[in-house]
């Protein structure tokens, strides 16, 4: 028996919770340059636990950057296509760092934090992002890579009750809202956000105190620690793209079907990296588009599989795929020729010489459970 897809081993760094994960029985793997927990009791059980209770994820590998300086909104808007000027204090927005050609260098969360903007970027790309920001932002914009901060995510329908018991007041946050709280004497920057499709929170805490906070969270029997394996299957079910797989420098916000992240004002005004190409794609349509795929049968179809039209012509590739624990069937996402990116379209997938039937499906595959306040509230 041989793994056909074992991860490559490279020298790795350890995260503040390394010993904590090992003590909890985690199986550790190399990911984004760090030793990280891929699973504790098992991916399937962990996945279903998050959908029904609350799961604690260590995402301290991600980069936390705090920007300040005169004209910060406009400076960031030159690289990010989101409407940051209209973003209120304590609100966050999903956005992307774009190359001058409009390709996606990374996807990220941007929060207005008083005079600052706080960005959370992917772990595997943070070094490159920092280089980009240093090179492409005006000299008067400074930023701090908050290496001393760990980052936890608490996700699932019971996350709000659990966290509000420890940190009273967090229940008042609505989806994509953040604020500074205190737990004992420890300052916590908490946002109501995440990458599982569930209601939940992301908590930035100084590394020195992260083990105590993680202990306090899992002391609640509604919380279990959750590894990267379930994080991947949860975000796939939620239709959320993963950088380095579903997004890369050859994709744009239009081909990646992330147009919601480009504000109306930004579309009208342009003025962001790659705007000419991206606005052209908005007006004229892009060649390819990211779609969801429901795969027939039970066998997972994974990243790299070919996507064929009904005549057998290659029209794209699967960029993420696997078993959906919630749906009990294989699901995938990938890029297809724009004309075939219509839900209901029948396609074929080819993996290791074997053909699979698939159908383009709307995403998310599993409905989001975000805690949105009623409009106008």
């Amino acid at each position: 028996m041989t793994d056909t897809m074992s991860p490559t081993q490279t020298p790795t760094q350890t995260l503040p919770l390394d010993a904590w994960h090992r003590a909890k029985g985690a199986r550790m793997v190399a990911f984004a340059g760090y030793d990280m927990p891929v699973q504790y009791e098992g991916i399937m059980a962990e996945h279903l636990w998050v959908r029904s209770h609350a799961g604690l994820f260590d995402v301290s590998h991600m980069g936390q950057l705090l920007f300040h300086g005169p004209g910060l909104d406009k400076a960031l808007e030159s690289l990010l296509p989101g409407d940051l000027q209209s973003l209120k204090d304590g609100r966050l927005r999903y956005s992307m760092l774009l190359g001058e050609d409009g390709g996606i260098i990374d996807d990220l969360m941007a929060t207005r934090r008083g005079e600052h903007f706080y960005l959370v970027v992917n772990g595997a790309t943070k070094a490159g992002d920092i280089e980009q920001f240093e090179r492409r932002l005006p000299r008067e914009i400074a930023f701090d890579h908050m290496k001393e901060q760990a980052l936890l995510a608490l996700q699932g329908p019971e996350a709000v009750a659990v966290l509000n018991a420890l940190v009273p007041g967090v229940a008042e946050l609505s989806f994509m809202q953040a604020n500074l709280f205190r737990w004992n004497d420890v300052p916590l920057w908490i946002s109501r956000s995440g990458y599982t499709g569930e209601d939940g929170f992301e908590i930035s805490v100084v590394a020195r105190d992260v083990a105590a906070l993680a202990d306090a969270l899992v002391a609640d029997e509604r919380v279990k620690p959750i590894g990267l394996g379930a994080r991947d299957s949860l975000r796939l079910e939620a239709g959320l793209p993963l950088y380095g797989h579903d997004l890369d420098g050859n994709t744009t916000p239009v081909t990646a079907d992330l147009l919601f992240a480009i504000g109306k004002r930004r579309r009208a005004e342009g003025g962001f990296a790659g705007a000419l190409r991206i606005m052209g794609e908005i007006d004229n349509g892009a060649v390819q588009k990211r779609v969801g795929l429901l795969v027939d049968g039970k066998q997972p179809v994974r990243e790299g599989a070919l996507i064929l039209d009904r005549e057998g012509n290659e029209i794209g590739r699967v960029t993420s795929g696997g078993h959906s624990p919630t749906l009990g069937r294989p699901i995938a996402m990938g890029y297809v020729a724009a004309a075939l990116a219509v839900p209901g379209t029948f396609l074929k997938l080819e993996q290791r010489g074997k053909l699979f039937q698939a159908q383009v499906a709307p995403m998310p595959f599993v409905p989001h459970q975000y805690h949105r306040k009623p409009q106008g509230a």
């Binding site: 028996m1 056909t4 891929v38 098992g42 991916i43 039970k298 997972p300």
Partner: protein, 123 residues
């Protein structure tokens, strides 16, 4: 009846001229939650080392190779409906297929149970 293991974590239970093939407890544990298994068709002729079956966990796909030469007598049809049998009872109900034993001499290079368990404990 005797039990053998390969370095690829397959087990071979030999009963007369028939061998039953599966993956070891160590293998199922390493794979994690198994969501799909495909076993060879009855009558298929296998050479030693041929890709005989596929097993997929949530994480990854793996091939199961024929540890010996022979002809497939039957695949375990229960795995199609419930591949998690391989997790629950890998060295029993979670067997993959039964095959004829073309050349008993091929068993000579395999580990016996004690040797396999001792080796796995070092991994």
């Amino acid at each position: 009846m005797s039990l053998y293991f390969t370095g690829e974590h397959e087990w071979i239970k030999v009963d007369g001229d028939t061998a039953t093939i599966g993956i070891s407890n160590h293998a199922q544990h390493a794979l994690g939650d198994i969501v799909f298994a495909e076993v060879p068709e009855q009558g298929r002729s296998l050479n030693k080392g041929d890709e005989a079956a596929v097993v997929e966990s949530v994480k990854a796909a793996s091939d199961v190779y024929a540890p010996i030469a022979g002809e497939v007598i039957i695949g375990n049809s229960a795995l199609a409906d419930d591949p998690s049998l391989i997790n629950r009872d890998p060295e029993g109900e979670g067997w993959f297929f039964k095959m004829t034993l073309a050349d008993k001499a091929e068993l000579d290079g395999l580990m016996d149970e004690a040797a396999y368990r001792a080796w796995v404990a070092t991994l």
